[in-house]
């Protein structure tokens, strides 16, 4: 089976990767939110001086922050970001990413090189686009909302 083989064998770098959108640890949450909004992304990475990931801030963190106290938008982002390592090596098989998205319910996955430096971000959306690319005829050309029957009679 082609898709199954590709997911098992192809590297993560074959997935559609989003750019590494980052802010420094000293940035405020408000600055991070503005960056996410400008770039139309659901995450922002917090990188150290060497370009390694020290955290991630997502729309999910934003909800928690607003519900707790919206004044925290002016806090430094490292008070509210997640420090868990949600990264995979770019040469790991795509199946690794799919597994983490499904079983660990990750939404974003940082893709890193051999030195641990971030090279891109993928996630549920990237996996979706990869699947769609495998079925261009079936998925990419579609007629929407086809009802089984007509609302009105056709013709004059």
């Amino acid at each position: 089976m082609g898709l199954r083989n590709d997911i098992t064998n192809a590297p993560v770098s074959d997935l559609p990767l989003r750019e590494v959108m980052s802010v420094p640890p000293t940035a405020t949450c408000r600055q991070a939110v503005a960056t996410m909004r400008d770039k139309r992304l659901g995450y922002v990475l917090i990188l150290d001086d060497a370009g390694r990931i020290s955290g991630m801030f997502t729309e999910r963190h934003l909800i928690k922050l607003l519900l707790a106290d919206p004044k925290q938008l002016d806090d430094p982002i490292d008070k509210h970001m997640s420090r868990s390592d949600k990264s995979v090596r770019q040469d790991a098989p795509i199946a690794t990413v799919i597994e983490k998205l499904q079983s660990l319910e990750w939404r974003f996955v940082c893709v890193v090189d051999e030195q641990g430096k971030a090279v891109g971000v993928t996630g549920q959306r990237g996996a979706m686009e990869y699947l769609a690319d495998h079925f261009p005829r079936q998925v990419k050309v579609q007629k929407m909302k086809s009802k089984l029957f007509m609302d009105q009679r056709e013709g004059a």
Binding site: V33, L67, M128, V139, M144
Partner: protein, 165 residues
């Protein structure tokens, strides 16, 4: 004037209109299922629906408590909008204190793109992968909301096929 002789069947002779029909062929069961099955073969439930008069804060607390990124806004069972984490980022974050007690109707995305439960999974995937919608409400033929589809449910559908193969 030379009159051309009519070719083809004699009057009254039956000709099968489907004699040259060849059914679609698929490389595997997953491809067949993407094109020929209904969206209901994917996991489209559970989903959360709220009234458009629900406050923004209450809606966000629900999303946070259940851990969902998106919910549908309905009047009766009819779809009127969708409210997602992206709406919070774009419309709520900077003015949360001013609008938290207001109705979600003011900040939801009205009239979202949807598909029918009789559409194929490929049609929903098209909207997600090509048009960029992360969540697609699913309607029955009476236009009532019966589910919602997100990317995780699509990858689960593909994984299920791998396990069954």
């Amino acid at each position: 004037m030379v009159r051309r002789k009519r070719r083809g069947t004699q009057e009254g002779e039956y000709q099968d209109p489907l004699k040259d029909y060849s059914p679609a062929t698929y490389a595997d069961e997953l491809e067949r299922s993407l094109c020929e099955s209904d969206i209901t073969e994917m996991e489209i439930k559970p989903f959360l629906a709220i009234d458009p008069g629900t406050s923004v804060e209450e809606t966000m607390r629900l999303m946070d408590k259940i851990g969902i990124a998106c919910l549908v806004v309905t009047e009766g069972d009819k779809l009127v909008g969708i409210f997602s984490e992206r709406d919070i980022l774009n419309k709520v974050a900077e003015q949360y204190e001013q609008i938290k007690d207001g109705p979600v109707r003011d900040v939801m995305t009205p009239n979202p793109v949807s598909v029918y439960e009789t559409d194929s999974p490929a049609q929903a995937m098209n909207l997600m992968a090509v048009s960029g919608f992360r969540h697609i409400p699913i309607l029955d033929l009476d236009e009532n909301v019966v589910g919602i589809l997100g990317p995780r449910r699509v990858t689960a559908f593909v994984q299920k096929h791998f396990e069954e193969a």
